[in-house]
Symmetry: C2
């Protein structure tokens, strides 16, 4: 790997900010690592919240990354059809030590053809889209298949990042970071997964996301068709 | 409370970004809430990582908040002695429904005199500083005393925010958000608290933070002395 270790988190309009701010907190504590927030250009990038981001690195200037990580969010609907993004991921992935994602970021890796034949996970609401990209959908919080590390929805990014650091450096490094961020979670409720949430809550959330699921299905089907033609 | 509900997260130089990006993700999903990132001026605010923030609201223009939340980080060393910050917090706290913090943000609330006689928590490494501000140190992940909600270190912000949403709105709203962010944590190691971390890891982290603890002690003692004189 490079010295310093080069870790790149992609950002893009309508990224779900906690998908990458969780891993960013973990990766920033890796001794000697250089962390980048990467987008096409240096310009303000709106997230899913009021927070607007400033990229630190462009596609064109980005050094070869050791770790490339794609977060998720509504913006992945556009990213799966964005040839500039997909070409950047393919080029970087060829030389990267680890190719990773959090949440629906795995759909973008999938659209780039980078998950063919790999087990992968994503947000619970998007798991059915992985097969269209030739991935093997796997419902675990963190999924590791060779050098592909994919995390589940949003907050799974913290578990994913600690798992990756234990590989990148060692277990002690990951444990020291975990203690530093006091990651000793105690959710006040037990609704964090479709398997544990009350049926009423699951129905409510599914109902709320139904319109966006329809849009997402259309975009993912198109991206899967494009991949099938080209790849 | 206001309509819309006004939720303000303070930001400042060297804020620990996950202290507020966790709550930001949760609060942004509260139906009808207006969320602000607040600083003295609209200017780039550097965090503890490469991420630079853009405030959305200034102290001068800020409406009365229903929820005021102070995150932590190395920058709290300066904030506990920053009269402009402390005056803003006192003024807002007088009319706010909830006065809250994550991590060492509680030290800033303390320096503003807002935790006198209240039970409160903070990052495990900073718990000894609370008493100097007249607070009653309480080692829980989320501490609720009347309208003061304080969270423990960094990642406790997610547990804190879900707890607060269950009060602000109701339990169903909090559970729906928890499912949306798939907050079903599965830490790969059990080192997230001084009580569970291997002794070797605790010693390593304590050793690493020793120089910053010395600086912090000096700043907190001075802030506590100031509060004793004025308040």
């Amino acid at each position: 790997m490079s010295d310093p270790l080069q870790i790149g988190l992609l950002i893009f309009p309508k990224v779900t900010q906690l998908d990458f701010t969780g891993p960013l907190q973990v990766f920033s504590a890796v001794p000697g690592a250089k962390v980048h927030l990467i987008w096409k250009r240096i310009e303000p990038v709106p997230t899913d919240s009021v927070m607007v981001l400033t990229p630190t690195m462009t596609f064109a200037d980005c050094p070869q990354l050791d770790v490339i990580c794609v977060p998720g969010g509504a913006g992945t609907n556009d990213m799966v059809g964005d040839e500039e993004m997909l070409a950047f991921l393919r080029k970087q992935a060829a030389g990267a030590k680890y190719v990773t994602s959090v949440c629906t970021g795995s759909l973008v890796l999938g659209a780039a053809g980078l998950l063919k034949g790999y087990r992968a996970t994503t947000h619970w609401s998007a798991i059915d889209f992985l097969a269209g990209f030739g991935a093997i959908p796997t419902r675990t919080r963190v999924c590791v298949d060779r050098n592909r590390f994919t995390g589940g929805g949003v907050t799974a990014g913290i578990d994913f990042a600690l798992t990756l650091v234990s590989e990148l450096v060692d277990r002690k490094a990951a444990e020291a970071i975990q203690l530093g961020i006091e990651y000793n979670p105690a959710p006040p409720f037990n609704a964090g997964s479709p398997d544990t949430a009350p049926a009423e809550i699951l129905a409510l959330v599914k109902d709320r996301i139904a319109p966006s699921q329809t849009r997402r299905t259309e975009k993912m089907n198109r991206a899967a068709a494009n991949l099938a033609q080209t790849g």
